[in-house]
C-alpha cells in the first residue's frame, strides 16, 4: 500500500508541471491571468497563432531536420567507434576515449563562444551545417559510451567463433555484431535525439535569423501576435508542440531508454 501511494505521488510529480503548461496553452483572454490551474474555456487559439507564425514553423522544421541528420550521422559514427573501442586493440584507443571524456566535461558555453567567432569567419554562422557539426561532436561521446556498454555485453566468443568460421573482422562485425547490437544502436539514437533536440546554447549563439534557429532558441525570442501583448500562452502552446515527440518516444521505448541510460553510466 505504502509503495502504491509513493508511486502515485511520483507520477503526479512528473506529470503536473507538464499538465500545467498544457492547460496554459489552452487558455485564452482573461483566463491567461486567472492564476488557476485550469482554463475556464478550452481554446485552440494559441495553437493557431503559433502555427500561423513563420518564426515557429521554420524553427520546428529546423529542429526536426537538424536533429534527425545529426542523430543519424552521430549514431553511425558512434557505432563504428564504439565497436573499435570495446573490441579491437589499436594504438590510440585511450586517446579517443580521453577526447570523448574531455568533451563531456568541457562546458558547452566555453565552446560556443569561440565557435561563434570561427563560424562567422568561415561562413557557417546561421546555417544548418553550422549547428549540425557541434551537435555531432557533443552527442558523439554519449552515443559512444552507451554503445560501447552494449557491445561489451555481447559475448566475446561470438566474434571469435565467426573468425574461426572463416569471417574477416569486417564480416564478423557486419554479420554477427551489428544484428546483435541493433537494439543498442536504436537506444543510442533515441538518447542522442533527446540531447540534440534539447540544445539551447548553440541555438542562441550560432544563429541570428530563422534560417537555422531551432525551437528552444526560437521560444526565447518568440513574440506574440502583437509586439505589446505578452506571448505567454502561445509560448506554452509552442512548448507543448515540441514536447510531443519526446513524450511519444518515451511512451513507446520506455524500457530501452532506461536500459540505455543506466548501462552506459554504471558500466561505462
Amino acid at each position: 500500500m505504502f509503495w502504491i501511494v509513493g508511486a502515485i505521488l511520483i507520477i503526479a510529480y512528473a506529470i503536473i508541471p507538464v499538465l500545467w503548461i498544457v492547460s496554459l496553452s489552452f487558455k485564452e483572454g482573461d483566463d491567461i491571468t486567472n492564476k488557476s490551474f485550469l482554463p475556464t474555456v478550452w481554446s485552440w487559439e494559441n495553437y493557431r497563432t503559433v502555427f500561423a507564425s513563420d518564426l515557429f514553423t521554420t524553427a520546428l522544421r529546423n529542429s526536426i531536420g537538424m536533429s534527425l541528420i545529426a542523430t543519424t550521422i552521430s549514431v553511425v559514427l558512434a557505432t563504428l567507434a564504439a565497436y573499435a573501442i570495446s573490441r579491437l586493440n589499436f594504438p590510440g584507443k585511450r586517446l579517443v576515449l580521453g577526447v570523448a571524456l574531455a568533451i563531456t566535461v568541457f562546458p558547452v558555453i566555453a565552446i560556443a563562444t569561440p565557435l561563434f567567432n570561427l563560424w562567422r569567419t568561415i561562413g557557417l554562422y546561421d546555417t544548418w551545417l553550422g549547428l549540425i557539426i557541434p551537435y555531432l561532436s557533443y552527442s558523439l561521446p554519449l552515443s559512444v559510451y552507451v554503445l560501447a556498454a552494449f557491445f561489451r555485453e555481447i559475448p566475446w566468443e561470438m566474434e571469435q567463433a565467426a573468425q574461426v568460421d572463416g569471417a574477416t573482422a569486417w564480416q564478423a562485425f557486419r554479420r554477427v555484431i551489428v544484428p546483435l547490437a541493433a537494439p543498442g544502436v536504436f537506444t543510442a539514437a533515441i538518447l542522442t535525439f533527446f540531447a540534440v533536440w534539447n540544445d539551447f546554447v548553440f541555438g542562441i549563439t550560432l544563429t541570428s535569423s530563422e534560417a537555422a534557429r531551432p525551437v528552444p532558441a526560437a521560444l526565447a525570442f518568440f513574440q506574440g501576435a502583437s509586439q505589446f501583448s505578452q506571448p505567454t500562452a502561445p509560448i506554452a502552446a509552442a512548448a507543448v508542440v515540441v514536447t510531443i515527440p519526446v513524450v511519444v518516444l518515451v511512451l513507446l521505448f520506455q524500457r530501452k531508454i532506461v536500459a540505455g541510460l543506466t548501462n552506459g553510466a554504471v558500466k561505462g
Binding site: 567507434a81 558555453i109 567567432n117 541510460l261 554504471v266
Partner: protein
C-alpha cells in the same frame, strides 16, 4: 608413439631459454589495428575538429583585450583578463551563486532521487507507468521546463501563488526567491536521471543481502544504512559526478527564468553575456576557460575520492 617429457619444475631458472626473437606482428593483429582506426577515426575527427580548435582558440583569445566591434584595438594583455576577472567581486558573487545552485540541487536530487529509486525498485504495480512518467521530465526540453516553472511561479499567470494563497508575492523580485524557483525547476527536470542511475545500482544488490539482514534482525532503516547504501557507493558516486558537472554549468534555466536579474547570474551566463551580448570576446573567453578549469577540478576531485573509496572497499574485503 607415446612420449614422456621429463617434468620441468615450474620455477627452474637454470633451464636454457629458447632463443628469444621478437614475435612478428601477425596478420590478425595488423588487420585489427587498421580496422580499429578505420572505425574509430571518423568519430574521432568529428569530435576533435569541432572542439579542439575552439578550445585552443578560447585559450588564445583569453589573452587579449579584444572587443568584436573594435578589432583594431586588439591588445595582447597576457593574463590581464584573468586578473581582471579574479579581482572582480562580481565574479566571486557569481561563483558563489553557481556553487550554491550546484550544492542545493545536487543534494536535493540525491535524497529525492534515492526515494524515487526505492519506490521504483519496490513497486509491484504501476511499474511501467512509473518509469514512463519519470522519463518525461528527463526527456523534456530544458527551456520548456524553465518556461513551465517560470509561468507557474509568475504572479501574473501562475497557479502556485493561488494554490498556496500567497496573493501577489513576486518570486522573481528577490535573489533568494528567484534562486529558489530556478532550483525547483532544475531539481524537477534532473532528479529522474539521478534516480535511474541509483535504481541501476539498487538493482545490482542481491535480494539475499537484504533477506540475510532481515534474518539477522535489522530494521528497515538499518537495512538501508548498513546494507543498501554501502553497496551502492559506486552508483551514487557516478550519479553525483554526472549531476555536479552538469549543475555547475547551468545556463538554460537561468536564461529563461531570470535572465540573470536579481543577482541570479551564473558563470556560464556570465561567459555568454560577456562574449555574445557585450562582444567582449577576450574577457568572455577568459571566463569560459576559468569555468572549464573549475569543471575539470570538480571532476578530478570526484575521481580522487572515488578511487580511494573503492580501493578502501577492496582492502576491507581482504
Amino acid at each position: 608413439m607415446s612420449t614422456t617429457i621429463p617434468a620441468a619444475p615450474p620455477s627452474a631458472p637454470t633451464r636454457t631459454r629458447p632463443q628469444r626473437r621478437r614475435a612478428p606482428v601477425t596478420d590478425r593483429a595488423r588487420k585489427e589495428r587498421n580496422l580499429g582506426w578505420l572505425l574509430a577515426g571518423p568519430a574521432f575527427i568529428a569530435m576533435v575538429a569541432v572542439t579542439g580548435y575552439p578550445i585552443l582558440n578560447a585559450i588564445w583569445l583569453s589573452l587579449f583585450d579584444y572587443r568584436l566591434t573594435d578589432p583594431a584595438g586588439r591588445d595582447f594583455v597576457g593574463l590581464g583578463n584573468y586578473a581582471t576577472i579574479l579581482t572582480d567581486g562580481l565574479f566571486w558573487k557569481q561563483f558563489g551563486v553557481t556553487s550554491l545552485i550546484t550544492v542545493v540541487t545536487v543534494s536535493a536530487e540525491l535524497v529525492l532521487g534515492f526515494a524515487l529509486a526505492m519506490v521504483m525498485h519496490r513497486a509491484l504495480y504501476l511499474r511501467t507507468a512509473l518509469r514512463t512518467a519519470i522519463l518525461v521530465p528527463y526527456g523534456i526540453i530544458t527551456v520548456v521546463s524553465a518556461y513551465a516553472w517560470a509561468y507557474g511561479f509568475s504572479n501574473t499567470y501562475g497557479f502556485v501563488n493561488g494554490l498556496f494563497g500567497l496573493g501577489d508575492y513576486d518570486w522573481f523580485g528577490g535573489t533568494w526567491s528567484a534562486l529558489f524557483t530556478v532550483c525547483v525547476a532544475e531539481i524537477w527536470k534532473t532528479t529522474p536521471f539521478m534516480s535511474l542511475l541509483l535504481l541501476a545500482g539498487l538493482a545490482q544488490i542481491p535480494d539475499d543481502y537484504l533477506e540475510a539482514a532481515k534474518v539477522d534482525g535489522a530494521t528497515a532503516w538499518q537495512r538501508v544504512k548498513r546494507v543498501i547504501l554501502p553497496n551502492m557507493k559506486a552508483a551514487i558516486m557516478v550519479a553525483l559526478l554526472f549531476r555536479t558537472l552538469d549543475a555547475f554549468r547551468i545556463f538554460d534555466s537561468i536564461f529563461i527564468m531570470t535572465a540573470g536579474a536579481q543577482g541570479t547570474e551564473t558563470l556560464s551566463f556570465l561567459a555568454y553575456r560577456q562574449t555574445i551580448s557585450r562582444v567582449m570576446v577576450g574577457l568572455g573567453s577568459a571566463v569560459s576557460v576559468i569555468l572549464a578549469i573549475l569543471v575539470v577540478l570538480i571532476a578530478v576531485m570526484f575521481v580522487r575520492v572515488f578511487r580511494t573509496d573503492l580501493s578502501q572497499q577492496r582492502g576491507d574485503r581482504k
